[in-house]
Point group: C2
Chain length 148, copies 2
């Protein structure tokens, strides 16, 4: 029988990615993609290092997961993200037809849920939020406090 | 005195990119980025070749232009795209703070304007549409007719 790994356990892996971003002086957001209980992609925000606004954790995770699967669609996958995706990333998640999206903290300034007429995601994508939200949010708060 | 190059002339360059996509059996969308009357990035849709839903022409053009400029922000740049950007690309264009967005044909199925509560783009981004729209749309129509 397969061991069931909890959402908290996987979110801790996404948090490890976020910590790597933090350590590299990047806005600390991390993402992992899980397929059949296995992590197939890990990524963290690299917008500063790469000088590229598109280098969000989620975008890189989608590219890496598709590369691993040798297929564009992630309908059998779950993505764990420490922060609510922005509109760009939600759009990418929609194109990828992601099976399940699980995020930690809400993003009240840039999150895709701000567009109330919220038809960005693919209709079949299941969404869960609030997993380890305090840890996820605290890391970002600490980052911006340090910047001030 | 600098010669002023028309929007049509630049859109023809974006159309050349779209034609490259067409020839590679990709949905034919092309984009170029212009800064100070000079083309600094060219890209076309490569989602099939790269097995990557994020490989839209606009995303690649943003990455390439930022790389050329050695800076993330494209506020001094104009992007010419043959098709109205999707939500993902509009989100990326917002992060890049693009100065001016000029697109050809509307995308009535996936265009960012479908989100009527349309606050995706950066407030300072100027938008012009309809440049060579017939040529841009015809290329896409021909592509999908060929697919049927």
């Amino acid at each position: 029988m397969d061991t069931i790994i909890s959402d908290e356990t996987f979110m801790r892996e996404a948090l490890k990615e976020a910590q790597k971003a933090f350590d590299a002086d990047e806005v600390p957001v991390g993402a992992i993609v899980v397929c059949n209980n296995k992590i197939i992609a890990r990524a963290h925000n690299l917008t500063e290092r790469l000088n590229d606004v598109t280098a969000h954790a989620e975008m890189q995770a989608i590219t890496a997961a598709a590369n691993y699967l040798n297929g564009k669609y992630l309908n059998e996958c779950t993505m764990y993200i420490t922060l609510e995706p922005c509109v760009m990333c939600a759009g990418a998640i929609a194109w990828a037809q992601l099976g399940k999206l699980i995020y930690g903290a809400p993003d009240t300034k840039r999150g895709f849920n701000l567009l109330k007429e919220n038809k960005i995601l693919h209709p079949k994508t299941e969404v869960i939020s609030g997993i380890l939200d305090k840890e996820c949010a605290d890391l970002i708060k600490t980052f911006f406090q340090k910047k001030r």
